[in-house]
């Protein structure tokens, strides 16, 4: 909310500077976001009156004016002016010789000197509103009111030595959605006296009453209105009101609209003015019915139903209750007779309604938070008195119906509870004084205060609401920052759980940089890269490339490679640890689960470019499957297996499913060449994606005594079909191995000359060691024999000659 400092000070004027006042408001929870001067600095600009205006003798578009500036010059000044609206009789801001105009783009003030313009002397300058920095209007001279005192300093006359406060109000502070409400807070914070709230004295000289039936007391709790006949809708808004509206960031529209807006800013009271002659019959206040429509003041037509409140006449709906008036009964410059209405709308009946239609209004904003119902007659009188004063006319009697207003229940605040929650022994007397300054009526029992909240407060229902008020006015700064006293309990991380940070550190140590990519991705990525036709969609994405929830981290990493490649990187290795989101009907609501969606954490990486950074000591070689497989050793449990398998993203011959027991815990492979073009790459990255949960479990080591017996090593070369994979061959060998075989490893694979077509030779190392005795040659040869037999049976292996 924005308003001028002078308006605020007209109600409560503490002896604080502008900055001190702003700070005090901020520290009481009314955050002052900005304090802006009402006008930029300028000097020696006064109210002038154009006495004569003639065409410039040497220029078609210039005028030659004589300007009365009162006591500032003995005779009217001769001033050349280019504005189209320069004419005799108007009053305008006139910069005298020696005046400094607001700084221009160079930051320096513009100095007015006597000059000759096209051969004619000019002793000053007539100003537009833009030249004074008051608005962007530069269509012509800024025309002042006819009664503006000639010679008066324009800063005084327009009250420009003022500041505009912009405050950010939290949703609970509905009582501060007006200048008077803020003044009430200033009074509570500073103790400076508070002026009484403005009202009006309206005498009914007519007997006209517009019949109003309130049919929905759950929508409208109180409804008051008055007929005023014979208004001059063309009357101009007084300068003082216009000035306050403009400093509040509102443009002046017409007097009737301005008055309604002004009182909303002044007292927080939204109201509506109907053109009485356009209302058919009487009004009824009720819930809408489906099928009804309403064309609003803003030109939009909305469809209604029984969830939104309306004001209707005998023919049609005329207003969206508490939010915006209708177009057909709106006042215009031709309006002569009006009906002015102010009502109490229940917050719950207004909340969310404007948002449903995708707009918001100042009235709706206030009503959905709560507006005082007790002051309705006083505020309606304020509005009507202003209308009678500015637009003239004669008023009818006030029709005020109270049906169902909230009850203000007393709230008990225990003194000890307040002290415990705040953590400071604020004295009971200090609490009473805070309540008094806040205008909260209270009584005292032995150990508590009982407070009855005023009708303008909608945020006091429970004890904590009062404790907050005590803390706020006592001052958060006055509450000490205490190191808490708590029972000391040791807290240790589990040795068998690797934290996410340890996993990150492990993969970062293998030369991968961590990235953070958005959890929402382009729907095309899911469909084309991952073959997922049904990702979870956002109902309100901010962009089409952020429209669905990802089911894999890999596309984001490929985009990271693309981004860095386009910035001239020739080797990119990135990883991410984050959640993916998969529809899964088997997931039920749980302590950490939401039904229907699996949200597992994954760790994924992508390596592209050289196996190592290009350098003097290592031959240049592109990263491949086995480089990355080695990187994963730091992450995977030792019993993880790699099984050849196909995946939409991956090269069908260079992809592996990573399994533990029966469970797939991840994938590793080279990107399928058909996806390279998507990321503008000419060579394939190697990518992996692992479930995080299995990586976090590590076994607690259990010591086994080291054997003192000698270790025996036997190497053998086995010839098998190319299709036989290493795991299967080792599995067969192990099936035949006695317990003293400690390890079976592949140390070479050979294909080529000396082998028949379709065969390969695999060099195997077998390590043997008994725990109790030295192995005899017969043991060793027997073991090798049995292992070979199994390998022959299961995988067709033969010993290489």
């Amino acid at each position: 909310m924005q308003f001028s400092e002078s308006w605020l000070r007209s109600f409560c004027n503490p002896s604080l500077t502008t900055d001190e006042l702003a700070h005090a408001l901020t520290m009481a929870g009314l955050e002052v976001e900005e304090v802006m001067p009402a006008a930029p600095p300028f000097t020696k600009i006064v109210v002038g009156e154009i006495v004569t205006r003639e065409k410039h003798p040497n220029a078609d578009k210039l005028s030659l004016c004589t300007v009365n500036v009162g006591p500032h010059a003995a005779a009217p000044l001769q001033i050349v002016c280019g504005a189209p609206n320069a004419r005799a009789g108007i009053k305008i801001p006139c910069a005298l010789v020696g005046a400094e105009l607001p700084p221009g783009e160079d930051g320096k003030p513009f100095l007015i000197k006597p000059v000759k313009m096209r051969g004619v002397e000019s002793n000053g300058m007539l100003c537009s509103a833009r030249e004074l920095g008051l608005s962007t209007d530069h269509a012509g001279l800024m025309e002042l009111a006819a009664d503006a005192p000639v010679g008066a300093d324009i800063r005084e006359y327009l009250s420009l030595n003022d500041s505009k406060f912009l405050i950010k109000l939290t949703p609970n502070k509905t009582d501060c959605l007006s200048v008077y409400g803020v003044a009430r807070e200033v009074h509570a914070i500073t103790g400076a006296p508070l002026a009484p709230a403005p009202t009006g004295d309206v005498k009914a000289s007519l007997t006209d009453v517009l019949p109003v039936k309130v049919l929905a007391p759950d929508l409208c709790g109180r409804f008051a209105g008055r007929v005023i006949r014979g208004v001059n809708a063309k009357a101009s808004t007084p300068a003082w009101m216009r000035e306050r509206l403009e400093k509040s960031g509102q443009r002046s529209i017409t007097a009737l609209v301005d008055i309604s807006n002004y009182v909303m800013l002044e007292l927080g009271r939204p109201s509506h003015v109907f053109d009485l002659d356009k209302v058919h019959g009487g009004l009824e206040v009720r819930w809408g019915t489906s099928g009804e429509t309403l064309k609003l003041l803003n030109g939009n037509t909305v469809e209604l139903d029984d969830k939104v409140g309306v004001i209707a006449d005998d023919h049609a709906v005329e207003s969206l209750a508490g939010i915006m008036g209708g177009d057909s009964t709106a006042v215009s410059l031709d309006t002569q007779n009006v009906y002015v209405e102010a009502a109490f709308w229940h917050p719950i009946a207004i909340q969310g309604r404007a948002r449903r239609y995708n707009f918001s209004t100042d009235a709706g904003h206030r009503f959905e938070r709560g507006v005082d119902w007790e002051t309705i007659p006083a505020h309606l009188d304020r509005i009507c008195a202003l209308i009678l004063d500015i637009c003239g006319g004669q008023a009818g009697p006030m029709d005020d119906q109270t049906l169902n207003v909230p009850e203000r229940k007393p709230v008990t605040m225990r003194i000890a509870r307040a002290q415990k929650v705040i953590g400071v022994p604020v004295s009971a007397d200090a609490m009473a004084s805070i309540f008094k300054r806040l205008g909260l009526a209270h009584t005292r029992t032995a150990d508590a205060y009982i407070v009855t909240p005023p009708s303008y407060r909608f945020d006091i229902e429970i004890e904590e609401d009062l404790i907050e008020e005590i803390a706020r006015i006592y001052g958060f700064d006055s509450i000490p920052a205490l190191p808490p006293v708590a029972r000391a309990a040791m807290h240790a991380k589990r040795e068998c759980t690797r934290s996410l940070h340890e996993l990150r550190a492990a993969i970062a140590a293998s030369d991968y940089f961590e990235t953070i990519n958005y959890s929402f991705v382009d729907e095309r990525w899911e469909r084309e890269l991952l073959g997922n036709a049904n990702p979870i969609k956002l109902l309100n994405p901010i962009a089409s490339q952020m429209a669905v929830m990802r089911t894999s981290l890999i596309p984001g990493l490929l985009a990271n490679i693309h981004y860095n490649h386009s910035h001239k990187a020739d080797r990119v290795r990135v990883f991410e640890l984050g959640k993916v989101f998969v529809r899964d009907a088997s997931v039920a609501d749980g302590e950490l689960a939401v039904a229907g969606i699996a949200q597992p954490l994954r760790l994924a990486g992508a390596a592209w470019g050289g196996a190592v950074a290009e350098q003097w000591a290592s031959p240049k070689r592109a990263v491949d499957f086995f480089d990355v497989k080695a990187d994963l050793a730091a992450l995977l449990p030792s019993d993880a297996k790699f099984v050849a398998a196909e995946h939409a993203l991956l090269h069908p011959g260079r992809a592996a499913r990573i399994v533990m027991g029966d469970a797939t815990i991840g994938w590793l492979g080279e990107l399928h060449p058909k996806h390279l073009a998507n990321f503008e790459l000419s060579s394939a990255p190697v990518v992996f994606e692992l479930e995080v949960a299995p990586l976090q479990c590590v076994a607690l080591p259990v010591h086994v005594a080291v054997s003192k017996q000698p270790l025996v090593r036997r190497d053998m070369a086995l010839v098998v079909d190319q299709a036989v994979n290493t795991d299967a061959l080792i599995g067969a060998l192990c099936a035949g191995a006695p317990a003293f075989v400690r390890g079976v490893e592949v140390f070479d694979v050979y294909r080529g000359a000396g082998l028949s077509e379709g065969k390969k030779s695999v060099a195997i190392r077998v390590l043997m060691q008994d725990t109790e005795r030295t192995l005899a040659d017969a043991d060793i040869e027997g073991a090798c024999q049995r292992m070979l037999e199994k390998a022959a049976q299961q995988q067709g292996a033969t010993l290489r000659a």
């Binding site: 705040i422 953590g423 609401d465 509450i479 030369d511 969609k537 984050g578 609501d589």
Partner: protein, 349 residues
């Protein structure tokens, strides 16, 4: 006698000179033969002793043996010298440029926001805070209603929420959590029994991703928060001030950091506070910077934890990890965190 000893001395001198002239092991072996070989000078002298009398043998023999030892010593010295020279030459040939870069894979690095995440965990862990994580697609109840923010409440418009095309079991649309606060409720409900049964406080932080419909230089549609929650029988607003002030001073490693608490409003805390901080030195010196929202947990929320708010009170806070990271490392643009630019990421390795 003199002449004899003179000739022996000459022989030793000649041998030493010959050895010295040898540049390598084979020529040294040839030179050795000239004196100590089968027909060598010393050997010949020893052979000539057979013709001498026993007395002569005694004196002559001792002199020749001395000369032989001298020749052998000269030979050994020369051998050692040649070996040392050969080794030195070999080592010199083997020398490397120690300033060339090391071979093999380099080191990657952790994202700066995650570094902050980890440091926050460590700092709160040092006074016994647990760490929790939970769903990012969240149910309306946990994100809003349980936190005292029912449907249509004006406070809901404080946060622009992303919704997904699925409904929760309560029939309301599921959403991307707008803050980490749902984890307060989830964690507290999991541990309420420990509080009432074992007298263990709830003391947890929950860092993680959060989402809001907002995107410009200072807002990202996805960002990170860390939630903090401490519930026990006597944890007050003054304790919140103490803990959070201490945290900021440890995080920024600055004891003169100024921290202020300013009244604000969140549906799930009361009293509520915005926390601002001010550096006393450095480029941001003297400016109040918003860093966190906080407050005493609202009694309705404590009730939703499954605890009696009459007995259990405490505080909660939520801070932006990006904001902490930007202030810590002097990063000016939020978008850098999500671009994956290695030139940026490598600065934090």
């Amino acid at each position: 006698m003199n002449m004899i000893s003179q000739s022996l001395d000459d022989t030793v001198a000649a041998a030493t000179a010959d050895f010295a002239a040898c540049a390598d092991a084979p020529s040294l072996e040839n030179a050795k033969a000239k004196y100590l070989g089968k027909t060598g000078a010393i050997t010949e002298l020893l052979k000539g002793m057979a013709a001498l009398t026993p007395d002569e043998k005694k004196t002559r023999g001792a002199a020749i043996n001395l000369a032989k030892q001298a020749v052998e010593a000269a030979l050994t010295a020369r051998r050692d010298a040649l070996a040392a020279a050969a080794l030195n030459a070999k080592l010199a040939a083997e020398s490397i440029d120690v300033t060339l870069p090391g071979r093999g894979k380099g080191q990657g690095g952790i994202h700066p926001v995650i570094k902050t995440w980890q440091r926050v965990e460590e700092i709160f862990g040092s006074i016994g805070f647990d760490v929790a994580d939970g769903p990012e697609i969240e149910a309306d109840w946990f994100n809003f209603t349980a936190l005292n923010n029912p449907p249509n409440h004006p406070a809901r418009s404080m946060q622009d929420t992303f919704y997904v095309d699925m409904n929760g079991t309560d029939g309301l649309p599921l959403l991307l959590r707008t803050h980490t606060s749902p984890m307060q409720v989830r964690y507290a409900r999991m541990h309420a029994g420990d509080v009432t049964g074992k007298g263990k406080p709830i003391k947890v932080i929950a860092p993680g991703r959060t989402y809001r419909v907002d995107s410009d230089a200072t807002h990202s549609p996805m960002f990170h928060q860390v939630e903090g929650l401490w519930i026990d029988e006597n944890i007050s607003f003054a304790d919140l001030k103490g803990v959070y002030t201490d945290f900021l001073r440890r995080f920024f490693e600055s004891d003169d950091l100024q921290v202020r608490f300013r009244p604000s409003y969140f549906p799930f805390t009361e009293p509520s506070a915005e926390i601002d901080m001010k550096f006393e030195s450095g480029p941001l010196k003297g400016k109040w910077l918003e860093i966190s929202g906080s407050g005493q947990v609202h009694p309705s929320v404590v009730r939703n934890f499954g605890l009696d708010p009459e007995r259990y009170i405490g505080f909660a806070f939520g801070s932006g990890l990006e904001r902490l990271t930007m202030l810590r490392y002097g990063i000016g643009d939020l978008r850098l965190f999500f671009e994956g630019d290695l030139r940026f990421l490598k600065q934090f390795a």
